[in-house]
């Protein structure tokens, strides 16, 4: 799973890059509390719901359905808004194992979140 920092709402979950199985759009999805961002600004207000299907804000397809998945590197490179934010340095992507056991893991050989500021001793767990 590629993730872009941590959720400011629950303060703990990694913000995974999720590909919607319906419209193929990429979004940022909190791997802990399911808050969703449709832009590259995770400080903006997220979309939240307790709808079990976690509908995509764009097309209402389920973001936790079988057709949706964590985006791979090629899919991220093909998403202009995300690639632009990464290129501009406003968003930093790292890789790590997703929380859900069934989630496809895409792990880099060397963990890249070691320098994440959320790893400082006083932070919350999640």
């Amino acid at each position: 799973m590629h993730y872009a920092g941590f959720c400011r709402l629950c303060e703990t979950g990694p913000l995974g890059v999720r590909k919607c199985g319906g419209c193929q759009a990429l979004l940022l999805l909190c791997d802990e509390c399911d808050a969703v961002w449709t832009t590259a600004d995770p400080t903006a207000s997220p979309v939240t719901t307790d709808d079990p299907d976690l509908p995509c804000p764009h097309c209402r397809a389920s973001l936790v359905g079988d057709d949706s998945s964590w985006a791979n590197a090629a899919e991220i490179a093909g998403a202009n808004w995300l690639a632009d934010a990464v290129g501009a340095g406003t968003l930093t992507l790292r890789t790590g194992k997703p929380f859900a056991p069934s989630g496809p893991a895409e792990i880099s050989p060397t963990p890249t979140d070691d320098l994440d500021p959320r790893d400082e001793p006083c932070d919350a767990g999640g």
Binding site: L9, C10, T12, P46, G96, P98, A100, D113, A124, G125
Partner: protein
């Protein structure tokens, strides 16, 4: 739903008694067999009440639980993420509202959702460390689903009383940080493991309305 469960439990109870009589036939006097059957029926009927009252998980003789009562036995869709949890105590604690929605006595609701498939599974996943999860992963000491649901209920009721709680409300959600006053778990994940799994005594509880989105141990930021 309750009627259906009662009917199923009654059938299971009858089958148990029949099996008992078959096993004991010719081996013990009929009076003894009747007495043992009565004890068996009494145990099966009292089991949910005893579990609820004593807060323990008793061995089950039949699937199901309370044959008639305000808390119908349910079977939360829970599978162990690794270790073997015992959802029996949760069965007698939660009320089945149908459509895989389970309500606690405090009024919290656990529904389908999350990538674990159900919020109860998600909660139980916080009873296991994930040492390779990015950042920090709150891990409960307790591995019993019933105990975890009760712990979250108690923390929520404490929050409702305004005792040792911080709350943020945003985007339709309430994010509680509740000091339970005793160790409830530790911080795992990559970061927590690097720090020697520090102990946690706070619960982070995220609600949308009365729906539990997630709950886990934390060490709040200073």
């Amino acid at each position: 739903m309750a009627v259906l469960i009662l009917s199923r439990d009654s059938q299971q109870l009858i089958r148990l008694v029949e099996t008992l009589f078959r096993v004991l036939r010719g081996r013990v006097p009929i009076g003894w067999a009747v007495g043992l059957a009565a004890l068996l029926v009494a145990y099966v009927l009292a089991q949910p009440y005893l579990e609820r009252t004593l807060g323990v998980s008793l061995p089950g003789l039949a699937r199901g639980g309370t044959p008639a009562g305000d808390r119908a036995p349910v079977a939360p869709p829970v599978e162990s993420p690794g270790k073997s949890p015992s959802p029996a105590t949760a069965n007698s604690y939660l009320r089945d509202l149908g459509n895989e929605v389970y309500e606690t006595p405090a009024g919290l609701r656990y529904k389908r959702g999350s990538q674990h498939g159900h919020r109860l599974k998600h909660l139980l996943a916080h009873a296991e460390d994930m040492s390779d999860r990015p950042g920090q992963h709150g891990v409960f000491d307790d591995h019993d689903l019933g105990s975890l649901v009760r712990l979250v209920d108690a923390a929520y009721e404490q929050a409702e009383r305004g005792e040792r709680v911080a709350v943020r409300r945003e985007e339709g959600r309430e994010v509680f940080t509740i000091d339970v006053g005793k160790r409830i778990g530790y911080i795992g994940g990559r970061s927590g493991n690097r720090r020697g799994r520090p102990a946690a005594r706070h619960v982070r509880l995220v609600l949308q309305g009365k729906s539990v989105i997630t709950a886990y141990p934390i060490i709040p930021r200073r």
